[in-house]
Symmetry: D2
Subunit: 336 residues, 4 copies
Amino acid sequence: MRAAVVTAFDKPLEIQELPVPEPGPDQVLVRIEASGLCHTDIHAARGDWPVKPAPPFTPGHEGVGIVEKVGSAVTGRTVGERVAIPWLGYACGTCSYCVSGRETLCEAQLNTGYALDGGHAEYAVAHAAYVVPVPEGITPAEAAPLTCAGVTTYKAVKVSGVRPAERAAIFGIGGLGHLAQQYAQIFGAETVAVDITEDKLRLARDLGAAHTVNAATGDPVAEIQALGGADVAIVLAASPRVLEQAHASLRRGGRLVLVSLPKDNAMRLPVFETVLGGISVIGSIVGTRADLAEVFQLHAAGRTRVGYETRKLEEINQSFEEILSSEVTARLVFEL
Amino acid sequence: MRAAVVTAFDKPLEIQELPVPEPGPDQVLVRIEASGLCHTDIHAARGDWPVKPAPPFTPGHEGVGIVEKVGSAVTGRTVGERVAIPWLGYACGTCSYCVSGRETLCEAQLNTGYALDGGHAEYAVAHAAYVVPVPEGITPAEAAPLTCAGVTTYKAVKVSGVRPAERAAIFGIGGLGHLAQQYAQIFGAETVAVDITEDKLRLARDLGAAHTVNAATGDPVAEIQALGGADVAIVLAASPRVLEQAHASLRRGGRLVLVSLPKDNAMRLPVFETVLGGISVIGSIVGTRADLAEVFQLHAAGRTRVGYETRKLEEINQSFEEILSSEVTARLVFEL
Amino acid sequence: MRAAVVTAFDKPLEIQELPVPEPGPDQVLVRIEASGLCHTDIHAARGDWPVKPAPPFTPGHEGVGIVEKVGSAVTGRTVGERVAIPWLGYACGTCSYCVSGRETLCEAQLNTGYALDGGHAEYAVAHAAYVVPVPEGITPAEAAPLTCAGVTTYKAVKVSGVRPAERAAIFGIGGLGHLAQQYAQIFGAETVAVDITEDKLRLARDLGAAHTVNAATGDPVAEIQALGGADVAIVLAASPRVLEQAHASLRRGGRLVLVSLPKDNAMRLPVFETVLGGISVIGSIVGTRADLAEVFQLHAAGRTRVGYETRKLEEINQSFEEILSSEVTARLVFEL
Amino acid sequence: MRAAVVTAFDKPLEIQELPVPEPGPDQVLVRIEASGLCHTDIHAARGDWPVKPAPPFTPGHEGVGIVEKVGSAVTGRTVGERVAIPWLGYACGTCSYCVSGRETLCEAQLNTGYALDGGHAEYAVAHAAYVVPVPEGITPAEAAPLTCAGVTTYKAVKVSGVRPAERAAIFGIGGLGHLAQQYAQIFGAETVAVDITEDKLRLARDLGAAHTVNAATGDPVAEIQALGGADVAIVLAASPRVLEQAHASLRRGGRLVLVSLPKDNAMRLPVFETVLGGISVIGSIVGTRADLAEVFQLHAAGRTRVGYETRKLEEINQSFEEILSSEVTARLVFEL
Ligand SMILES: [Zn+2]
Ligand SMILES: [Zn+2]
Ligand SMILES: [Zn+2]
Ligand SMILES: [Zn+2]
Ligand SMILES: [Zn+2]
Ligand SMILES: [Zn+2]
Ligand SMILES: [Zn+2]
Ligand SMILES: [Zn+2]
């Protein structure tokens, strides 16, 4: 099978011909149909983060495909079924996080496309209990971005506690933001979309944003405060300055949800405003299998639209460059 | 009557002889028996904060005393009753915050000892609906510190969501911290007390702390993480470094509650750890009348101990110095 | 002014000519434009409930109109403004319920059209703090049903905790049910509408129901369980049998919200299924001023449709009969 | 090994000599040290419930003992460790309930001592992921009652949402009730104990009850309402009349938690009071592995006292009679 392989953090990925892997007793073998490209893949391939993966490995945690084999101990999954292989490739299943509905915090978790070989290949093995079935009526190319971009923004909206008659400001309407906006609306909120290009603001309006702010030409803090302030701000743009604007756009009792990781890993949190305003800042990381099942269910019910562009696996290195140069804003999906 | 009056932000307070004020239709006149000194009084007297009070005024928002007169439209309060006059001197009663149980966020609020003359005087008038009855069995000198220090830490513990079988770390065991620790225990938590003097750690142990850490000689982050990390950290020490230690002492899913206002008003929030750890940072500001009633109820039931030292009103300027020099750690209470 | 007056529980209402009332210091005088007829008005007029109103009185707690006078102590309301006068005509503002966002539980509350003269008249006085402004773009005739039917069902949906990717079953698609369904959808739920006439089920489908069940010809429990069961069931039909069906249609972890009051005031609660299924049964009573403001905000934003028919005040006795005979299912609104 | 075996629903249990079972790949073999007797064991042995177990089988879901063997695929458990084998013997680990922290609602669950052979034997096999380690400092005889009676009442208190400055009424101070009372106190509540014997009320006072009511000689509804009503009522006595008293003892906003299963499986729920009082009735069924770990942690920290009496396994049939005749009120524990 062909696989995109990281051989070293300072080298481009190689498309290698590798043997199709064999699933262990608790695993399934999945023939990948589509695999979405997440910014995290680039961090993985370059070893950007403190705990690094071990080359050679195949990145990708938005792999979607058909189960071709099931391990001897697998129950619940069957050959021929379409599944998604998300970031949470394995968790212990017994720690206090796993048992209390917070499996994405499991200290023993293994992540797909990082500690485990991922979806940027023709085949992948995955722990059967951690793949999520893709319901009828969702194409592989749509399911792929939902598998990380979708569930991550869905979870961010969920933990924000946003509800009808509240206002949610979404900072950054790209591959993640256009989904965050839709989920905020599904939770009943009025949305304000903030971005720096008119294209994306137009998309936000098409998707139902009540207000849009062009942060290149206007002041999002002033404009959102003029509306009465945001109850919730969700930040998909990885810049400390945007984080601070998002905080400043909140009304009292507001909640700022952090999803993206800025380069220098720091936000200057204004303590006075946080305390007097009764503001919460909430870190949110991907979502559980149950969250992903909900994401798929909402899409199958026609509640969301997914923007994406397709690429060939052979284009993976150029695709990295496209993302880094912000040439594309929709999710890139490798079709296999 | 005698009153401690701020005449200018750069002058000491004066003890002046003023006429006893007359309550308006919705107000009560309270003969003050005890009035606690809060660090906020010093900020008020010096005009430290962006929105400043207007001299001349009398600070104090822990005034406790006996109702001597009630205004013509007052219902619910009666002459002879003991009441406390807290920081929230007035709120609009009709905005979304007031109606939804978050009156301390009311944009129209007036604060006692700041916008309204406060408790550091022999008499004070107060909006009848915003004083809170002090139940039998609580002395004025105990009730005073509960009126701000008590309810502020009680609320901080409440919004932390801490519960039995969780671990709460309290950073700073002074006038606020020794109460925060007790409330965390009443909510069922195991507590870790962090301070830099053995005296205070001894007090914390007396009050039931399961663990204590001397941050002058040890590393609170390492010691708390060795216990498994804190589910909740409450910071009463107004230093950015302590805020960062408190954040770092959390386990995944942990919650950091901000109460104190550091000098330069900024905390460096580590975004990566906040997102990956699913951590929340929660600003908490005093508490509602209902919270204060609960604080009194718990004290009347014998569930809390209040540390305080008494002073004369004439000693108010020296008392400010005592606090600023950290000579005393218990709450100072003026007896009148 | 003309007013519909209950003179005795066993007599029809009389249309009397009464002097226009004078607002007290904390009250407003409202010139009524539209006043919705709620089933509770009939219970009030007939003295059906244990705590009875005292004739003569004017029922009506969906009165909408223009402020014509404000009392001397009123702040916040101005002459010329459109307001609604809901069931919660007055609450104490200081008890634990009022202060914690649950004013509809206040033991000292006074109810409009019951303890206080209500909206079925050309003018009404109301406590200024408890009227709710009607935003631009909502007609009086639409605002009226929202003032009780709207906020009651909105609150029922709110306390149900329903959220996206959950299924809500609405039992009874009449004046309340068609609103409950819309609110459940605004909170993100997939809805199942249950009724016994095809007309109402057609309305439910128009409003976006994913499924409908005709309980006259089919078995709602079997049909809803075939879908996977309901996460939430909201019962607007005042029959013990429907309550029991609603309970039986829940999936594990489901929540049954009680709103309507059946004749004999009893539901047979199956304890085994409640315990094993981890089911909650939640009583919900109208909503707060904040809830009503949200209801208006959602309608002004075009998120809800209100079904109603207009009547003349003189037709009030016939209108009672229409409701009792189930001839109409939409809300009746008196235009004044 | 010796095991207590149900051979038919209408016969006494037999003590049989059976081969020691062999653990499957995901199982452990536990040498039982103590096994608590729960009323559910009697229902299991007599086939009282709609879904019946299949004789021959061994009841018991409070088995505590030492791991003697681990299956080939087991991780996390080691030989020599002390564990408890609770009612939730197996759950699927992947359904929406399992993944969202509500594994006790899993539709695929298998229950110990019911579908799976249980703890009333010298050895038991158990699914490794569903046993819970017993920490140092807890004896097997104490751990046993905590494994069902403890976690069941702990969960009931947890779902009640009770908190400091609230009042919890516990109806029935027996093997479950004395634990429910302690947990309510650990969550910060003031407790009222209701029972019909002075012995148990004395125990309740020893354990810290603020009030006790003898329901044989007094009226619990009147006495609790005289205190201000209960915020929470937890019913461990399986009688419809007690359920109705518990409901009537609530104040507005109160929550009634159902745990016990009355004979005729019905409670008459007063709808009017439930709706007007904003009351919730909450079914609660045992607890998760995480809940049980918390129960053990609290006991190891010295926060709870467990009342029990020991019996020999051979006395199981007499022990059933003792429980049915209410001769004993403490938990009976077989020592092996
Ligand atoms: Zn990703
Ligand atoms: Zn885990
Ligand atoms: Zn203060
Ligand atoms: Zn307000
Ligand atoms: Zn009504
Ligand atoms: Zn009230
Ligand atoms: Zn049991
Ligand atoms: Zn399951």
